[in-house]
Amino acid sequence: MVAHGRQCKIEGSQATARQTAELLRSVISQQRVPYTNQAGALIDAVKAVGEQLIAANPVELAVGNIVRRVLHIIREEDLSLTTAAIGELNLSAVSDDENDDDRDGNTTLSAAAVAAAARSTLRPPSLQTLLEDTPVSAAVPQTSSSGAADKSSRSRKLKHDVIEAVNELIQDIVTCHEQIAEQAVEHIHQNEVILTLGSSRTVSEFLFAAKEKKRSFRVFVAEGAPRYQGHLLAKELVARGLQTTLITDSAVFAMISRVNMVIVGAHAVMANGGVIAPVGMNLVALAAQKHAVPFVVLAGSHKLCPLYPHNPEVLLNELRSPSELLDFGEFSDCMDFGSGSGSPLLHVVNPAFDYVPPKLVSLFITDAGGHNPSYMYRLIADYYSADDLVVQRRAIAGN
């Protein structure tokens, strides 16, 4: 429905993430919750929409991230309600578990996954994580045995809580720039030289924040071919009174020895701490490593992707139109398929992203603070539930 109009029309992870969250919120609020297994119904609804959203724009990983975050929120809220319920109604649920007809495919698969997740996540209330799987299904028949008034109030409460939490999530996404920028002064020091590539809103806010705190520093901006967004960034920086030097991407290596710190934005951060970033970033990262310059990546938490880059579902790259590189008219005679073997001798390839391996990244700055690449999996365990990592595949198989 709403999902179809989305392809390639929204630019930027943040906007996409926000809109996804808003869309899911409306899905949740419109979803009629049955008396039994409300959490399951909500999860199914969100999954169905989420699958479409992910398919509509598989390159934008933020969509999948947000879908998984919302699913996680639903599970968490449900869990907190059921633990409350369990506290009231004694722990007699386990016997009911066997004749539970609502048990769907979700839970059978997740038993092993939860065990694995529990092992890796090291979340503080470890009992809760262990119970996380069973209560979802086990608690439901219990509620059916309790009074109708209780049910309706609980269902309303769940929905209300979930919407509340999604609102918080949206708020987080909206304010992620400010939260990251708050940390700017801790990282940018007096008279430093900062290098950045292309343009990222997060980076520019970060630099502005440091400038506002009366830090004086200089910025080198690599232009970021072929889209040349670095030009725009340079313009903005100059408007804010920052001393700016614009260089070509290929001059990065020559300039890196004069740079104190590289600060860049990212398209997505993978579970292993690798970064998917605008094309040319790997070059900058390698140059920074060669000269032992810290390579700092700024990323809002919506860019944290719980998948690994070797996962076949992850579409790491996107090939954009070659017309960004060269003028079709000028080269039209090179692309005459009408002669010779029928295939042109000139191919123009315009990938949008680079993959920067985790060992080249010195520090991630997210809205939750600064982290090492090796700490990423821990953050991800906080934000996502292990059941949802495979949302897409199971949804397809289910259809």
Binding site: Q7, A55, R320, S321, F328, G329, F337, S339, G342, H347
Partner: protein, 759 residues
């Protein structure tokens, strides 16, 4: 730099938008989409399925157009269906297009419409277009942004009420050899005012054999500067004001959008309607007009020029595909295909859902549809295979189009340029010759004699065909009935279908528009022909440059006239020579030759002196060619530097034989020559011609000049007066010009003395 310009333009456009946002908001943009091209170029496929529903990289063409219109901000689209309208409407009803928010698709159906002009007249009568609209046909692929073009159009309209149309053009260089664009359409000449971007001249059917185009002198007089382009491609996307529809109604003879409407407006200076152009640079737009453009646009899509309308981005109705890396290039795959381990799928290939590929098959640069079964050891190169095709083991397909449901039995071979229509069966080891079109339907024999009106009235005509012949075949599945076998060209054992004979244009032109690349030998042939032309062009002082700016001055138009006459004389000479040679070969009577040459003379508007010159020229040429047996003779056929070498190497041998030949020929054909030598002027013309030949094209004669002059005198072809007059005229000339006068000095001396004696 380009990016900066774009940005500036975008900013400017944005500023303008903010000036009158309510103006835009008040009128939702409308579009007319013609779901019929009103041509027969895609026959025989279009006999069974409308062109707009043909799959282009596995997505029906109309989806590209609709997706673009939606993205470009069009709110309402009227799809005009004519041929196979039922199919189009059914398809649209089942697609997602009817359920889009902010984007309405409405269909208009009519069966008795035979041209775009009629269609627009009908739409005018329905009174559904209220403001500016986009006129596009359903076979156009684009990703351009309309904002700027639309803004420019509106602004012009505000200033000048006569600016009724903005035409989108794109730079694309035509091939200098074949004189056609990369999309297989004829080279297009456009004259555009570089300042206002007004279109002043549009010619897509220029006569290349002449090598000239004619511009109206008034064009140059009225416009201080015009730029003439041949490297612009017409994208067939027009932004029109509502007046356009009423113009079509007023001029009921307008049929074709370009040939009648655009040219009509350009010529008509009473109403003063103007057409402007908008050139797009970074975005893509092209119309699929023939099989070649089908091939080219498919490849452009696979190479992602049409981004975001590419196979791996879901835009409408297509299944998500995945790119896989093959070497440096990419191949689009659907996740669920069965591919043998030993099959080799090369780069720039798209393979549809549920297709099976057997072992050791090689596929490259191709598009394969859904549910196809490809056997082992199959070779597919640069081909377009649609859905549910079965290709058995060992088949070879190069640069072909294979429609839905075709079955190719083992070992069948399709040569380049073949088109197999729906459900054709090709028999075992049958080789389908190049450029042939095979269909279950018989070729319609009734042909519109008027090529201009080759409009798709086929919807009614073809139904009959299919009901008579087609149903029998389809129900049988195999071609068993003997009666039909008798008059069908067989397609091998078990083959079903008719091979269409190539009609209009003939085999000659078939390679221009087919899916196959232009064969190597055709290219060399053409480039040789072009080299010949080049000589002509360099003689004329202007060659057509790719896009030169002509500054208007009076000389330019005069120059054109000179060029014309010069050109004519060269052609005239060639014609006469051809006539003469034929006469020699076929022993035509002298009287008849005279008659033929006379008629040529009249048609080219030449004087008899020209005739005499031309006839003499051809006789001398013949004289050179006659000693065919000797190697030198062959060499001398080519008036090129190495024939000089030859004549130098064997001067004596050659000159003796040549003189003899010349004498013989002159004796045989003296009557012909004499019939044009009415006065002394013509005789002098002959001598001058001969001199010119000796200097330029037939240097072998130069040592023989005096002797042949003597022969001509002996045969009473030249009178002594003429020779003497010529000698006198040459008296004052440069030394270099006098070579031959010197050579024949003795002869002239003798003539002078003789005449004095007579006195």
């Amino acid at each position: 730099m380009g990016a900066q310009k774009k940005r500036a333009a975008a900013a400017a456009a944005a500023a303008r938008v903010s000036e009158d946002p309510d103006d835009l908001a008040r009128q939702p943009l409308q579009a007319i989409l013609l779901a019929d091209s009103f041509t027969t170029k895609f026959r025989p496929i279009t006999l069974e399925r409308p062109k707009v529903l043909l799959p282009l990289v596995n997505v029906p063409m109309i989806n590209y157009t609709l997706a673009w219109l939606e993205a470009a901000g069009v709110a309402e689209v009227f799809v005009f269906c004519c041929a196979h309208s039922k199919q189009v409407i059914d398809y649209l009803e089942n697609s997602e297009w009817f359920s889009q928010p902010n984007f309405t698709v409405k269909t208009i159906e009519s069966h008795n419409i035979i041209s775009a002009g009629d269609a627009l007249r009908l739409i005018y009568e329905q009174n559904v277009i209220h403001g500016d609209f986009v006129l596009i046909s359903g076979d156009t692929v684009s990703n351009m942004s309309l904002t700027q073009a639309l803004q420019e159009h509106k602004e012009r309209k505000k200033k000048d009420n006569n600016a009724v149309m903005t035409m989108i053009i794109k730079k694309s260089k035509p091939s200098p050899i074949t004189r056609q664009s990369r999309l297989g359409t004829d080279e297009l000449f456009m004259a555009i005012d570089p300042n206002t971007k007004q279109l002043l001249y549009y010619e897509d059917k220029a006569d290349h054999s002449k090598g000239t185009i004619c511009l109206d002198k008034m064009l140059l007089a009225e416009n201080p500067s015009i730029s003439l382009h041949n490297d612009k491609q017409d994208c067939y996307i027009d932004i029109c004001s509502p007046e356009v529809l009423s113009l079509f109604t007023d001029n009921f003879d307008y049929q074709h959008l370009r040939r009648h409407f655009v040219k009509g407006l350009l010529l008509d200076d009473i109403m003063g309607y103007k057409i402007f152009t908008h050139e797009i640079h970074s975005s893509y737009a092209a119309r699929i007009d023939n099989y070649r453009s089908y091939d080219i646009v498919s490849k452009d899509i696979i190479q992602r020029w049409t981004y975001p309308y590419v196979p791996d981005v879901k835009f409408c109705g297509n299944r998500a595909t995945k790119l896989e890396r093959r070497g440096i290039c990419f191949t689009a795959f659907n996740s669920e295909i069965e591919q043998s381990r030993s099959a080799q799928v090369g780069s720039f290939t798209v393979i549809g859902y549920g297709t099976k590929i057997g072992s050791n098959s090689k596929i490259s640069d191709s598009v394969i549809g859904e549910g196809c079964t490809i056997g082992s050891n199959v070779l597919i190169e640069g081909s377009y295979i649609w859905d549910n095709v079965i290709i058995e083991d060992g088949c070879e397909l190069r640069h072909v189009i294979v429609c839905d449901g075709v079955i190719m039995k083992a070992g069948a071979v399709l040569k380049p340029g073949v088109v197999l229509s729906f459900k054709v069966v090709i028999g075992e080891r049958f080789v389908v010759p190049a450029y042939s079109k095979v269909s279950l339907l018989q070729q319609p024999t009734v042909h519109d004699s008027d090529e201009e009106l080759e409009y798709a009235d086929n919807s009614s005509g073809t139904v009959e065909f299919s009901s008579i012949q087609g149903t029998a075949d389809q129900s049988n599945g195999e071609m068993t009935s003997e009666s039909s076998e008798a008059h069908k060209p067989k397609l091998g054992t078990g083959g079903v279908g008719y091979i269409w004979s190539i009609c209009e244009g003939g085999q000659e032109e078939e390679w221009r528009h087919s899916v196959a690349p232009i064969p190597e030998d055709k290219l060399t042939e053409l480039s040789e022909a072009m080299d010949d032309d080049q000589e002509l062009v360099t003689q004329d002082r202007t060659a057509l440059s790719t896009s030169g700016e002509l500054i208007s001055d009076s000389n330019a138009s005069e120059g054109d006239d000179n060029e014309d006459s010069k050109d004519d004389s060269v052609y005239f000479e060639k014609e006469v020579e051809a006539t003469f040679l034929r006469a020699v070969e076929e022993n035509v009577k002298v009287d008849h030759v005279i008659l033929e040459v006379n008629s040529l003379r009249l048609s080219y508007n030449m004087t008899s002196a020209d005739c005499a010159g031309a006839v003499f020229y051809s006789m001398m040429k013949l004289a050179i060619k006659t000693p065919h047996s000797s190697a030198i003779g062959l060499l001398t056929l080519y008036p090129s530097p190495f024939s000089m070498v030859a004549s130098n190497a064997y001067p004596i041998y050659l000159s003796g034989e040549l003189q003899q030949n010349t004498a013989n020929i002159i004796t045989t054909w003296q009557k012909l020559l004499k019939s044009y030598l009415l006065e002394i002027d013509e005789e002098i013309e002959i001598i001058l011609k001969f001199e010119e030949m000796c200097l330029e094209s037939a240097k072998e004669f130069s040592p023989l000049f005096a002797r042949i002059l003597h022969i001509l005198y002996d045969k009473d072809i030249l009178q002594e007066d003429a020779i003497l007059r010529w000698a006198d005229e040459k008296e004052g000339a440069d030394e270099s010009d006098k070579v031959f006068v010197r050579q024949s000095e003795k002869f002239i001396q003798w003539l002078r003395e003789a005449s004095e004696e007579e006195d």
